[in-house]
């Protein structure tokens, strides 16, 4: 009996081409489009060596200290230090040509004061300027100290002037996973999970005697309703869990989206998401009393709003909502699921992931209970 219901329910689901499109192909399509659009998002603020030119004139030849710092940052002396700039030495005229062709970010000319020439303001230009400021400032300090307090200029200070002390230690762990673009894909998975609601909605619609002829027929059969409900929800869960896994595998295998290293946890989150989605749809079908069009309308619009708030259209939204109205973030299952994936990707600890997962299971439980409370003991003498 159980196998029979399960088998035919699965057949019904898989033959519904329209639903398979919306729950499987549509997310795959969106993921592909996101990949086109956001592929370069993570690389935008990476520092790529600024290209500069130095006008190799008499003033530069005479300024030995400046020559040595230029050598230092362009790495000609020490190949191991991170090269800050890619330096070309040239004359004033060709430096100007290079600048107008945009083959360099700026050029430095000494006459004999140091001057920077750029085409437009920008981050790289700011870094070049910061470097030049640094040189002028240090030069001034040392000259000032030599004039005012010559005996203080000892070996220690010369050493400090030559090798600047680095006071900083980066403590942000998990260095590799910092690409905010993943949020688009995680919230897309959340949307896919919520689209599982279509299956749940259909299960309830075809179980209730007042909603569909199938429901009326099914209600005559001498099968306990709870039993039937559970079997059909399981069927929906099987189909939808597979769909969510396919979407995740596609993102990972084809689009090369990172999910962290803990695959068991990723799969567990996918399961929690599918369960939440299916029960969400069932709950809507039970609670919304108007026709099927209305139920689907409520499902799609609530899914879209929740996905939007979890960052599917713009990843900053998720953070803004969490900061401004934390309750809204916690009560949004799409956001909780997105956050679970985010926690796996970005954090080394699993505390946040498990909190998210517990909330997801709590949501599923609430949705299931609501559905059951509404559906139980409904009897119709005549329809």
């Amino acid at each position: 009996m159980i196998a029979h219901i399960l088998k035919y329910r699965l057949k019904c689901f898989l033959r519904d081409r329209q639903m398979v499109f919306w729950t499987l192909l549509f997310p795959l399509l969106l993921a592909t489009l996101f990949n086109f659009a956001f592929a370069n998002l993570g690389q935008i603020d990476q520092y790529v060596q600024a290209k500069i030119a130095v006008v190799d004139n008499l003033a530069y030849q005479q300024n030995l200290p400046f020559q040595s710092v230029i050598e230092f940052v362009s790495g000609t002396s020490e190949p191991l230090t991170t090269k800050l700039f890619d330096v070309t030495f040239t004359d004033a005229k060709s430096a100007q040509t290079l600048l107008l062709n945009k083959s360099i970010d700026g050029y430095i000319e000494l006459n004999p004061k140091i001057q920077l020439v750029v085409y437009e303001s920008g981050f790289k230009q700011t870094i070049i300027k910061g470097f030049l400021d640094d040189f002028v400032q240090t030069e001034t300090v040392l000259t000032e100290l030599i004039q005012n307090n010559p005996q203080s200029v000892d070996e220690d200070m010369i050493e400090l002037a030559q090798v600047r002390r680095d006071y900083l230690a980066d403590s942000s762990s998990n260095q590799a996973n910092t690409n905010p673009a993943v949020i688009y894909f995680y919230s897309l998975i959340a949307m896919t999970a919520l689209y599982g609601g279509f299956w749940g909605l259909r299960v309830v619609t075809e179980l209730q005697a007042d909603l569909s002829p199938q429901g009326a027929r099914a209600s005559i059969a001498p099968v306990h309703k709870l039993k039937r409900l559970i079997i059909e929800i399981v069927a929906a869960l099987v189909v939808h869990f597979a769909i969510v896994l396919v979407v995740i595998l596609y993102m990972f295998g084809v689009l090369h989206i990172s999910f962290g290293s803990q695959w068991i946890y990723v799969i567990l989150a996918a399961f929690a998401g599918s369960l939440m989605g299916v029960s969400f749809g069932a709950c809507i079908a039970a609670l919304v009393k108007k026709g099927e069009g209305m139920k689907i309308g409520v499902l799609i619009s609530s899914t879209m709003i929740m996905s939007f708030l979890s960052g599917m259209m713009y990843h900053g939204i998720k953070y803004t909502v969490t900061q401004a109205i934390p309750a809204l973030a916690w009560l949004n299952p799409a956001n909780v699921l997105t956050d679970a994936f985010y926690a796996l990707y970005y954090y080394d600890t699993y505390q946040r992931y498990f909190i998210n997962l517990s909330i997801l299971f709590a949501f599923s439980l609430i949705f299931c209970l609501l559905t059951y409370v509404v559906l139980r003991r409904q009897k119709y003498a005549s329809i």
Binding site: F123, D134, A169, S171, T178
Partner: protein, 390 residues
């Protein structure tokens, strides 16, 4: 006029969708113009970074740390984030801050004695912000150290003053880019780019709904045996499509006038209007093709979503063309949306009406007309085949 009236009635029944797409494009345009305030300052402008400063030292009034704070605040924007590892990391990930500097409790003592004191930082490794800010912090501390070594008798406050004064020294910068009005049209470009998505969605849904209704086999047979000539019926349908398309386009133009007011009353504004009119015809042709190809209503929203979203994404409607990969863009040239967006972006940066500048814009419009011709040709072929089958 019965057919034409029926057409408008069908549209009116679906007006909810039209208003929804209208809302989307207007909301997006307003949001984007808030996010991207164009930079119109002249001369050199140093980039500023959003940073968080966490001071864990217990004593207040450290001249050393206060000086650092003042120095960083002068060159960057300091964002208040609570002293919590997760909060800082989240803010970093979502770009609320690009750099966090944490001053440990024992910093002052360690710094005064000669052994190297360590400050903790958080940033996306290798980012411009991290390189720039590391440079600033180290520079401040090194300069302070110079003064401390040079004037062992001076107080911390005096040393901080000296340091800050020294760090105010500047390298002169020559900026060669002439100040222009470039950028002031950027927001308008965003609006017209989103319009591509909205207009395409609206026209596909509206036109294909009507075509499906009139192509319903029973209805069509009934209509064909009415005394109205086929020619008149088709002309009315064409008029319906045209009026609906023009009206949708007109609504978008009116809204653009309301939002951007004076900017639209210019050559650029005129070109935006012209370009979007071109794209309206592209959408009309494509919707017509879809309308006659579709067999039933089930596939309608799938097709409209796939086409409108797909063409918008790869052609740079939602994300600037500049950050889309080259391979994708090469493929996107096969869509009319690409040329529409290209022309919009050109109009946005247009400062003088030189022949070369205008040529880019008008040839992009020309390519759109090629697409219109292709869509109508294919549509004609489909109609021909269908007639043969019947």
């Amino acid at each position: 006029m019965q057919v034409f009236k029926a057409y408008l009635q069908i549209i009116r029944k679906n007006s909810g969708l039209l208003i929804m797409y209208l809302g989307i494009v207007v909301a997006l345009a307003i949001m984007m113009s808030q996010l991207n305030q164009p930079n119109q300052q002249m001369g050199f402008v140093s980039s500023r970074v959003n940073i968080a400063l966490v001071d864990r030292t217990t004593q207040s009034n450290h001249a050393l740390i206060n000086g650092l704070h003042d120095y960083l605040a002068d060159k960057n924007t300091i964002v208040m984030i609570e002293d919590d590892n997760q909060a800082l990391k989240d803010a970093l990930f979502y770009g609320k801050i690009e750099y966090a500097l944490i001053i440990p409790e024992t910093f002052q003592n360690e710094f005064d004695q000669k052994n190297s004191a360590q400050l903790e930082t958080m940033s996306n490794p290798g980012s411009m912000a991290s390189i720039y800010l590391n440079m600033q912090v180290n520079k401040y501390l090194n300069t302070f150290k110079f003064y401390q070594m040079g004037y062992p008798n001076k107080s911390q406050i005096e040393l901080a003053h000296l340091t800050l004064a020294n760090l105010r020294l500047n390298t002169p910068v020559v900026v060669q880019n002439k100040p222009s009005i470039r950028g002031s049209y950027e927001n308008v470009s965003y609006y017209f780019n989103y319009l591509a998505y909205a207009l395409l969605s609206i026209l596909i849904i509206g036109i294909s709904t009507c075509m499906l209704t009139f192509n319903n086999l029973d209805l069509k047979r009934r209509n064909l045996c009415s005394p109205m000539t086929l020619k008149s019926m088709n002309l009315q349908l064409i008029a319906g499509n045209l009026v609906f398309s023009l009206f949708s386009w007109f609504v978008f133009i009116v809204i653009s006038l309301l939002i951007y007011a004076t900017k639209m009353f210019s050559i650029n504004g005129l070109l935006y209007g012209l370009n979007s009119l071109c794209f309206m015809f592209v959408s009309l042709a494509l919707s017509f093709l879809i309308g006659i190809s579709l067999k039933n209503r089930n596939a309608q929203s799938a097709v409209s979503n796939v086409l409108a979203l797909g063409m918008s994404f790869i052609a740079g409607v939602f994300v600037p063309q500049a950050i889309i990969g080259q391979t994708v863009l090469r493929f996107a040239r096969l869509t009319p949306t690409y040329w529409y967006v290209l022309a919009n972006n050109e109009i946005g940066t247009l400062t003088n009406l030189s022949k070369a500048n205008l040529q880019v814009i008008f040839s992009a419009m020309g390519v759109q007309f090629v697409f219109i011709a292709i869509f109508f040709l294919v549509a004609g072929f489909v109609i021909y085949r269908k007639r043969q089958q019947n």
